[in-house]
Amino acid sequence: MAVCAAIVGKDNSPKYFCCINPDEELSYQYKVLSSLDIIEERLNPANKNASESKELFLGHLYSLETCKLYGYVTNTKIKLIIVVNAMNLTLKDNDIRSMFQKIHSEYADMVSNPFYIPGEPITSKLFDSTIKGIITGTV
């Protein structure tokens, strides 16, 4: 299970942040936002070996002592980031990939919601509980 998930808009502004342990929210926010540079680098067309893969899932971005970060960028340049505890060895790349795909699906549904204005932060409680379910592996 992952510890944190974030959605960052195309202009790099935070849209949604969800953390299993609310006490650590701020420190995870720092980690997530600092990974945006790496995502930018991977997407840069000038950087040959990185931009070859056309998959939306970017894979492992970088590791810290306590956690690992994974990235996913949609065709509409919405960035999804998942933070996993470094001690967690049971989660494989494929599990993370399917987690991202589920979050992306939820996001696409969210954008189709007439009460949600695209580009605004997401405040829906239902969305929040679904994403929590996805990252804890209960959905």
Partner: protein
Amino acid sequence: MDDGTDILFDLLHFEIVNWTDRAHSEEKDKDKKDEDLSNLEYIGFSTGYRLIERLTKEMPRFKDELDTMKFICTDFWSAVYKKQIDNLKTNHNGVYVLQDNNFRFLSKMSNGKQYLEAAPKYVAFTCGIIRGSLSNLNIHCVVKAEVQSLPSCKFHIQIQRT
């Protein structure tokens, strides 16, 4: 496959066109007519903007602008209009022309010149949908439609580079 679900979209679209049209039907003012068209175009814009997130979900990342345009002509057009664009032309410098020889919203009208002047309000929504989709894919553009003879229609897409 005609199970009545396809026709719903057509009917809804015709009603939206009628509704925006009726708002100022009494007035002969040309500005107001343009306002109706721009309302209609805006409805299309926000539809396209929201729709594209769903349609590109399973797609690999687009390589470049032309790749995106091909997606619009094939997958996107099939999803919305149940057919593909018949012809795509480009000058490789930011101008794309999409030609649909049997455009869905015009195909129910009798051919010929009789209803030609009614055509603009039936293509405004589509202009908006194209503009909205491309805008969410980070391609900012101006979309114009050209109807020379029903039921074919050409969409001119002019990319705005800044």
